[in-house]
Symmetry: C2
Subunit: 659 residues, 2 copies
């Protein structure tokens, strides 16, 4: 029976939510069974309250908060949990020496600020791409060009990247760009996948925290971002203590110009966003419909509202001038009381869900958006085809399977299965999408199997799960805690990204490998190796800096206190064996790597001047600094480039100022 | 026949050196056989010269320099090269899910500035330890304490760490500290292995580049560093253009206070250093005995001098006041002409070797120092027992096997074998130490086998090879180029750290795994897991900051324009739901993580204030900033800590200044 046919009493949903909290409290109240960690009961202010009271009083914080770290231990549904030791089914993630991985994995690095490129199935880190951080290995944030980009992009030296998204053409990855958000500072960055480097950062006005981030399928018309934190608009200190005037925003950024196009003001805090496959709907999870400012207030009510943004309707509102301009950006009013939401085609539809849902993922064929319950043990399936005509939950909720405790994210294998991460149960649950539509709400009938993971998973991703044609085979569970899984490395332990073989069909899930991850990957996305076309040598036409030849190498005085030093690099030699500048000179140093051979990188390091940057074959980089301290400074090559690499040096002589 | 018995004509050594260059040129002149890289012949100024002339004219640079990048291809001694595909002998580096690695590997990160902790045999990166770089994942360089340490340690935001060294007691690793050098800025850092974090950085006076770095065995009396770049002393701009007055220094730093104790001035450029096992000798390789300032000049002569530092003799000179004080440091004159080198017990012995040797490693029993030839195809074995009585090469050179082209580093398995990396041949050569002593100089008789690596190895390390009791079993070859070994990731490709099984005895070497490495690991060192005792929760007694309890949480105005904000963290809650400061206030924010459970880290991020740092269980961290911009800022937790992690926030309200 489809949910369209038998609408269910919304109170049942609330009951399920209460059951969840009961289960959580049962775990917490029985520490002897639950854990060997002596301190696991620390900080549980809600324990003296009755269970119902606990939830109603809005102090779920302590109890829910305490669950991380003990889930190794019980497994809410342990009878369904499979062994963590790999079976002998033959699934191997070994990539033999010299063989290539089959897939690129792009991992957001969380508050490390970087992206990581990881090969699948080997799980080897192939490279890092600095985005919001600085990186002295490559010179990102050290050269003039990257420094300017970071400065114009907000001037911060870190960011919190969460959701990497590959650009799409016709609903498939085109291999051109990757877009990722900075939750901390409300930014969106673009990474060029020809050169694997960040080429644009947009500091979105009016938004403090962009959490959810996705591209609008099928042709990357926009990069969309969810403003999570509610703040005054504009946030200039006026009315700062009046939360009634706080707001949160949804934003559209142009993927080519990277300029902010428009924003939509909504009620509550936005969380995660994904789009349908036809360019119309962006579905955002949201919490804090109470619009409170503390955690007790944020968890007081029973419901929250998922937001369905109608992109063409928003565009029409902008075109019609139905917006307020704030800091140069058209801001459309998408709150529930807005006149734009009163007509036949509201700009935003609000769909009630159980309290504080977490992720939204749209399935491969675009029929359903899957909203993981977090505090509810269910996944709510929104019928995107029904959405145009209604926002009544009885009409648009297509299914709501009970999957386990703490469901956060869902991914797909393209064979009709969904896989949901269970943060509290520390499991991946595999379930049948059609069976969930046909089953009663809250039923476990669609569940196929559960796989223990270690421990407390956030995102999970299967191969190309966000396209219209997922590849199945492998799934990665990004677990936030590793606890006892690796050699101890001090108090800050790695995360644990686990590789799970999911085959192509009904085959069992099999945990194949643990991989430690430096804090703190948030999400990942996979592309088949044939969809990425990385260049190994720079094309001069692809950058603005002037290519320097060996004949160009020299020092040109450009002003009374400024010089331009040009020099080439090739194996074992800089274009200038030495050069002289005057104390106080502003020195612009331009360097071209004239090598034509792949993988012959040279580094340009200036001791005691905080300068180091890489120059790849046929690339040119520049750095500007002031020569403040008289003396001899040996510029040297930091990339081991040849047998005489050690001897590869230039000598900068800074002559004392006269007098 | 031992070399002690039959001293050899030094000219024979020169002939071998010339043979090497002949071999290199043969490779370079036959590009069709050598490579599929069209541009491999780029930049070979020496090609129009005869081979002997080439060497004599000192333009080896171009030819030697061009070899990197083509060695995949020929293999100077390819008949001896083994297959790169692993055999079916059963050596596996797989560590099953949940199982632990057997060894900690500590990788220097080169100009990434960080250390990396990698498990052996899985080759998984367990964590990173920021040292000379900043790191927003942990907040290294963001908190007051780490900022101050980096500022006092020179104020640079990057470094080039090369040689990680574990502290020793009785010649074995005691698991307390790791010391590593910064080649770029002449610094030495210490990493605390209880907490896996950098706890001291010393900016050594008078030295621009510390390249070689080791601890004085057997009890870590000093951390020793080789100053590589020659510069005026002091380097203040006077006499900067007169290389005759340049000098390079050897330094001793106290491992506890981390203060510079003394320096020794020598001729030529120092390279790598290792010590004997009895606390007397430090052996340094060196190049540029010509004391030239360009690469042609540095490769003009036929010989260089290895330096043997007599540590007790140097200490005696310091005690006797036989030094010049420069920038507060006693500098002992260890140049060849110094009066301190004229008596019975010189402070430094100069031992002639073939031109531009590279590494020095002292073997497990302390009998020999192994000096890899780089430009010579040989490894020179110095007899440390004979060194006290003589520096005559005929008496102290115990053997000189011909091992292959471009030998750079040697490691040991504790079973009488040495393994030398061959940069140009792209191989690891295994040879018998005693057989090399008994053979003629320049003989290949001691060679057991060669293993192809991919490509161009620098350091190699076997398990605990630097102790008196190496563990054999595994060896890692740190190859500088990966070229075709991994999925392409743009022009800056990863290095390739290859894991080779070497067994315990005469068993064949077997290449087991390729592992991509972000640029640019330089060296590594391994310790059995039982030798490291990492804490998982902080001990309050181990830090200076004041522990904050929930009762302490609050805001204290400490001055007209300054406040001290104290707050705790625990799962889902900061100690303060909000706090208010005034525009322009200097805010000191102190945070204690009151969790007692391992692996529950909280992060403290302040949007648009460039602040993020981690606080591990029972740890306290502080940050000081100015609240410049009025508005509402949501402080949030960056470490996914619980089911209600997303709701874990505090709210900073910055009120506008009056008027």
């Amino acid at each position: 029976m489809s949910k369209h046919e038998t609408p269910r009493d919304p109170n049942e949903v609330l009951e399920e939510y209460e059951e969840t909290l009961d289960s959580v409290l049962a775990e917490v109240e029985s520490p002897d069974e639950a854990t060997t960690d002596d301190d696991i009961s620390l900080g549980l202010p809600g324990l003296s309250l009755g269970r119902r009271d606990f939830m109603k009083a809005g102090v779920a914080a302590g109890a829910m908060g305490s669950v991380a770290g003990c889930s190794a231990l019980s497994g809410g549904d342990s009878s369904a949990g499979s062994q963590s030791t790999p079976s002998s089914s033959g699934a191997s993630h070994t990539v033999e020496p010299g063989e290539h991985d089959e897939y690129y994995g792009f991992w957001s690095g969380g508050h490390s600020g970087e992206l990581r490129v990881i090969g699948i199935p080997s799980m080897r880190e192939l490279t890092r791409i600095p985005v919001f951080n600085t990186d002295c290995a490559s010179g990102y944030g050290f050269t003039d060009g990257t420094q300017e980009m970071l400065e114009e992009g907000g001037g911060y030296s870190w960011g919190d990247n969460h959701h990497p998204n590959l650009s799409e053409t016709d609903g498939d990855y085109d291999g051109e760009y990757l877009y990722v958000n900075d939750k901390a500072n409300g930014r969106i960055a673009r990474v060029n996948l020809t050169y694997f480097e960040t080429d644009a950062i947009t500091d979105v006005p009016n938004m403090q925290a962009i959490h959810g981030c996705c591209v609008l399928s099928p042709d990357t018309k926009y990069v969309l971002g969810n403003g999570e934190f509610r703040a005054p608009l504009p946030n200039d200190g006026t009315d700062a203590k009046n939360p009634d005037n706080y707001t949160s925003l949804f934003v559209a950024v142009d993927p080519d110009s990277m300029e902010t196009q428009w924003q939509v003001k909504v009620d509550g805090n936005l969380d995660i966003v994904d789009t349908g496959k036809e360019g119309r709907w962006a579905i955002s999870s949201a919490y804090n419909s109470e619009e409170a400012t503390d955690i007790q207030g944020m968890t007081k009510d029973d419901r929250d509202n998922v937001k369905a943004f109608d992109i063409p309707a928003i565009e029409q509102a902008v075109e019609n001038g139905n917006y307020e301009e704030v800091n140069g950006i058209p801001v459309v009013d998408g709150t529930q009381g807005s006149s734009l939401n009163q007509g036949d085609r509201p700009v935003v539809k609000y769909i009630p869900t159980p309290k504080s849902p977490h992720c939204v993922e749209v399935g491969p064929n675009g029929d359903y958006a899957f909203i993981a319950g977090k505090l509810s043990p269910t996944v709510t399936m929104l019928d995107l085809n029904a959405l145009a005509d209604s926002s009544d939950p009885d009409e648009v909720v297509a299914g709501r399977p009970r999957v386990g405790l703490g469901p956060l994210h869902t991914t797909f294998d393209g064979n009709g299965h969904a896989y949901t991460s269970l943060f509290i149960d520390s499991q991946t649950v595999k379930w049948d999408i059609q069976a969930a539509v046909e089953a009663e709400e809250g039923s476990e009938d669609s569940i196929i199997e559960k796989q223990d993971v270690h421990y407390n998973p956030g995102h999970i991703q299967a191969l190309e799960a966000m396209t219209t044609d997922p590849d199945g085979e492998w799934l990665v569970s990004l677990n936030k805690l590793s606890k006892d899984r690796f050699l101890p490395v001090g108090p800050i332990m790695p995360d644990n990204d686990q590789l799970i073989h999911i085959g192509q069909g009904e085959k069992e899930m099999e945990l194949v490998a643990d991989h430690p991850a430096y804090p703190e990957p948030h999400d990942c996305v996979f592309a088949h190796k044939d969809k990425i076309d990385a260049k190994k040598v720079y094309d001069k036409d692809d950058y603005e800096e002037t290519y320097i030849t060996e004949e160009d190498s020299g020092v040109e005085r450009t002003g009374e206190n400024s010089v331009h030093v040009k020099m080439t690099t090739k194996r074992s030699e800089f274009g200038l064996p030495d050069f002289t500048v005057q104390e106080g000179d502003e020195v612009k140093l331009s360097t071209t790597n004239i090598e034509g051979v792949q993988d012959i990188i040279h580094g340009v390091a200036i001791p005691e001047h905080d300068i180091n940057y890489a120059v790849a074959p046929q690339d040119t980089r520049e750095v500007t600094f002031t020569a403040d301290d008289p003396g001899v400074y040996w510029i040297y090559c930091t990339y081991f480039c040849s047998a005489l690499h050690l001897e590869m040096r230039s000598r900068m002589i800074v002559e004392p100022a006269e007098g």
